[in-house]
Amino acid sequence: MKARLSIIVIVVNAVAALALGLLVAVCVWLSGLVGDDGRDRQPVKNSDGSISVLVDKKTLMDREKSIERIKTAEKAFRNDISDPRVYLRLPESEFFRSLFAYYFLSKIMSAKPVTLDKAIIDLFKERGQLLYSMDERYPLMKKSIYLDPRRKTYNRPAIRPGTNVIIIFVESLSDFFLKEELHGLRGLTGHINEMGNESFSFTRMRNASFPTIRGLIAALGSGVYLLDENIGGSRIPIPCRFLFLSNILKKKGYTTIHAQAGSEHFIGMKDFFMKREGYDYFYGCESLIPRGIRDRENGFGVDDDVLFGFVVELLKKQPRNAPFLLTISTINSHPPFKVKERHPGSDGNEMIDAIHSTDRAFGEFWEYFKKSPHADNTVVILTADHAMGNNKQYIDFMKKHEDHFSPFFDIIPCYIHFPGGAYRGVKNDTLCTSMDLLPTLLEMMDMDLPNPFMGIPIFSERKYYKNMDNPTGAMKLDQATIAQAKKILAFYLNLYKEDRILPKDYSVTLH
């Protein structure tokens, strides 16, 4: 009886599942016939599983052919990034994979110190990253910000000692959004553009990292951080320290302040900045508008106009005779986008409106700053933490500008406004990354010290080294490349886990 009943149950269940399956199939069929299964969106794979889009010498000689090949490569990878099949993954399995990756994978990979072999060390050196030059235990440490001090140039802007430094990181601001001639939205970033016109600019700076915490570490600490955000978090705190601009300027008597529209507690940012990176003050949304959670209902943190309003008040209180470093992170252009001010040409695209809102908020600050008593003794730098990610509003908007579609990594603005408007309109077209910002600032301030930086001074040295860019579009992901990447990842993870970026007894000693 039980066996018979069990069989009947299985058969009837199968019929029920089949009936519903057929119903779904018919609905899909009726609503537009079964079509693209997304498989043609993937880059072509070789028989060994590697992905190749190689551009040989012959192709490179033929300009049209090489452009066509590069476009094919870009398209293949662009499609891979925007593969709709990501929405067909089972969330349950992704959830467990994420648990495994978070608690076990990084632990397994970071368990042992990894000494990189010569081939990899040379690869780093080609990019201007010197390894094992001082100490086996602290492989990133090197004696100077210059790999070859003979290249040090004075043909560059200078920042005199004691000048205040303000660095504004606009969330996800790809340089494309500042180019009205490309996107056609007049006045989208009018205030930022106005500041850019009054400033010195690096026109080809790419973000070295994504997302925000990695972007800040790249720019403020010229470092590579490959873990997923949990640097100061409470679940698995990562003990590593980087050498930030704040650590260095404190030695020169600067007061160091960070203000951000996001939460102080998010990934332990406040602890990380204050306990490890030498910040005296850290203000997140909890300090900016301490009125409870309801004020922050629309997305992360508070609006950027609140942030810049706070910054203005902060500057008013800042004494003129004591130098300060103020770093600022905005939030409106982080998904979910916070819209305070709609742009008439946005067509309801909230990403565009959010960028416009940040621009308006920045405008308030900029108007104040230009007339403030600090204006003649402060360098203001405006850049981005990273490029825009591939959220759906970005993809929607970029459908009209496909040639400029570059999610996550792209050219980001880097405007430097010097006191009195010096170097206004001067542009530097060197291809560089956000990791070069800190050494370049030190170069302009004429400071040098032993450091673990992964970037190099743009004026003196960047042109001698390769960038991470791949202008030929040649890509090959084979087993050897993957094995090498794993080794490098394990190398970094162990540095983070065992706090091997800066020596324990390191103190800032300027040459």
Binding site: I8, V24, G35, Y87, P91, S98, H265, P336
Partner: protein, 175 residues
Amino acid sequence: MNSRIDVIKSTFIEKKGLIVASAALTFVVMLYFIVWHCSIIAIGSIYSIQDVSGDFLRLTAKYGAASLIYSSAVCISLIVFRRPVVRKFIVGFALFLFFASEFVRMFDWGALYFGGAHVDSNFWAHAFYSDGTVYLTTWLSFGIYASVLAIFALVFAILRKIYLYTDRVDEGARS
């Protein structure tokens, strides 16, 4: 041959309630999976079902198989095992599995709506930081909670029916 069909017929008639409840469980669980996935694609992404129709049908087949295994396993276990403690454990475990799935999918929906990204292999690294708690009290979240509870209540009701029907499964055999 005829007698065998008669036996099946009589079993079917005798246990009609259990068989229908079991089929209903398969149907509801499968429908839950499919509707969830349709909503995530149609509302939460920039794509339509047509963009991924080929793979979506393959996924539907997988959901069908998963629902078949889930409901058949629950029913057969309840038919086979007679001790109340074991039977209650089976129902509890089945509900736990279903709720675990709902729980993950609830956050997946939230993640998609708020962050523009699917639950992925980085999910845990980002999850449950204090910032994210602001999303737990939005109207959309309340809508998601209500759906989760309603579907859970439906599955619970069907499982309860199956539990009660299988309580009397030996009656036919004895008669």
